[in-house]
Symmetry: C2
Subunit: 261 residues, 2 copies
DNA sequence: CGCCGTCTTGACGAATCTCAAATAAAGTGG
DNA sequence: CCACTTTATTTGAGATTCGTCAAGACGGCG
């Protein structure tokens, strides 16, 4: 929809898709440093001590950006200059095929890092959009690179970050290639549940930040199919659904769905 | 099928899946160096001069391995110690979901590098199998790492390699999520054609090294569907099929298939 | 309170899978 | 090199899954 190419850092100020928005605020001065960040060492699962990791991050994070729901953090074609860590809130990434169709390709929770696919190509290849009001830590890549060069441990974390991204994409390709609709949705819910648990949130009750259409897009399904499946899972006593509020009632049952042929 | 975990380098000697095979020969001494390798700078699309790149590679390649069709280069769980560049032949990678289903996740031609997903996790997460008798260059990762540390340009190549892998996986997820069967197969053929052209082979006539089942697995389709589509493409004058020998007759037509809703 | 985006549900149709059988090709042992 | 065995491919018929189209309900926001 937008073709404008802008640098996302440090003074990113692109308006949202739907309406004019105030300039995104740099909230660095008003927020605590990485050392006190509640995310802990989730940002990069670390073999370093948590404290070491956090100090490193303090060195890396240049600014923080506040996004409002629907705001775009970066788009395809934007020059890659930084990685982005979700601090608060959540984002989706949307990719496009050459022929123009779009698909939700990623979903990022606090502590997860976006933009990795841009390393090495110097441009972003997808669009990142806030699913709710969010706060994003900006990690300028030149700093990341310098630190990686100086600190072998950190270099390894960077490799790990990229490997993880490869494995994540591959997992999602596997899901789309081998699973039926109900299995994909069950896998989606279980994955979400696990990631919430890892962040200290409830793993059995959470709010979906994506619409049925966005979930469907990520899973290669139509929104009606997603809706029907939620209803069916509900009937079968696997989950409880109230709009976007989900309760997992029978985790084992969901896991069995996955195993079933 | 096999659970044995072995180090793939330098003396990899796993028998094939079906029958005992002679120990894989290290053919380093009998083959020319990277400088003379016909692949040119394809191994890592490079911003360096081709000569520089080749010399670097000479420094990196420890041994070469000869695989016979069906031989396994590495498996999930194998310790990651090296990257593998296809020199001659071709390989597939096969990934497994937690519930045990398999899918072909990658297809590597001469000059392409396998094993990237193992960087950072220290284990391989998929299985690599030769689709035909092949020759593989082994790039021990400690050497890669050292060179990357010393040479900024090469470090960047390494990042690029990993980014490319991310984008490749994402592209394949997009295909599976948004395209219909005929579009997936058309995209598969066009991609193959482009990659053969980039290697100086005919882009209009080539031999498929995968079975219908393997192609289907990669595209999230059943072998019968792949077979039917080949027949239909043939009827429609898009391609000519003789078993695994494919001629592209109407590239435009195939591309139009992709664009079509 | 009414509008608009989102969600649910039904009926129908198309795409793809499953099962089955025949044919073709490739690999094996003599 | 041939005969035999095994594996791969093609093709058909019918079943299943999921998408499409359409209508109505729900819910949040101005």
């Amino acid at each position: 929809m937008h073709a404008t190419v802008v640098s996302a850092v440090p003074a990113y100020r692109e308006p949202s898709q739907k309406r004019a928005r105030p300039i995104l605020r740099d909230v660095s001065s008003t927020t605590p440093s990485c050392v006190d960040c509640g995310i802990g060492s989730l940002c990069m699962p670390s073999t370093m001590g948590a404290q070491d990791a956090k100090h490193m991050f303090d060195e890396l994070v240049s600014t923080r950006i506040r996004l409002r729901k629907g705001d775009v953090l970066f788009r395809p074609g934007d020059r890659f200059t930084a990685l982005f860590a979700v601090r608060v809130g959540s984002c989706k990434t949307v990719s496009m095929t050459d022929d123009g169709s779009e698909q939700v390709s990623g979903h990022y929770l606090p502590g997860e890092i976006m933009g990795v696919e841009g390393i090495g190509n110097d441009v972003h290849t997808c669009q990142s959009v806030a699913l709710e009001d969010s706060e994003i830590c900006v990690l300028p890549f030149d700093r990341v690179e310098k630190l990686a060069q100086r600190e072998g441990t950190f270099q390894h974390q960077l490799y790990r970050l990229m490997s993880t991204a490869i494995v994540r994409e591959r997992t999602s390709a596997m899901m789309l290639g081998t699973m039926r609709a109900e299995q994909r949705l069950a896998a989606f819910l279980l994955d979400l549940s696990n990631r919430y648990r890892a962040r200290g949130y409830s793993s059995t009750e959470f709010v979906l930040r994506m619409t049925r259409e966005e979930i469907g897009s990520q899973l290669g399904l139509k929104l009606e199919t997603v809706s029907r499946l939620f209803s069916r899972f509900h009937e079968e006593g696997l989950i409880e659904v109230q709009g976007r509020v989900i309760k997992l009632l029978d985790r084992i049952g969901l896991q069995q769905l996955l195993a079933a042929s």
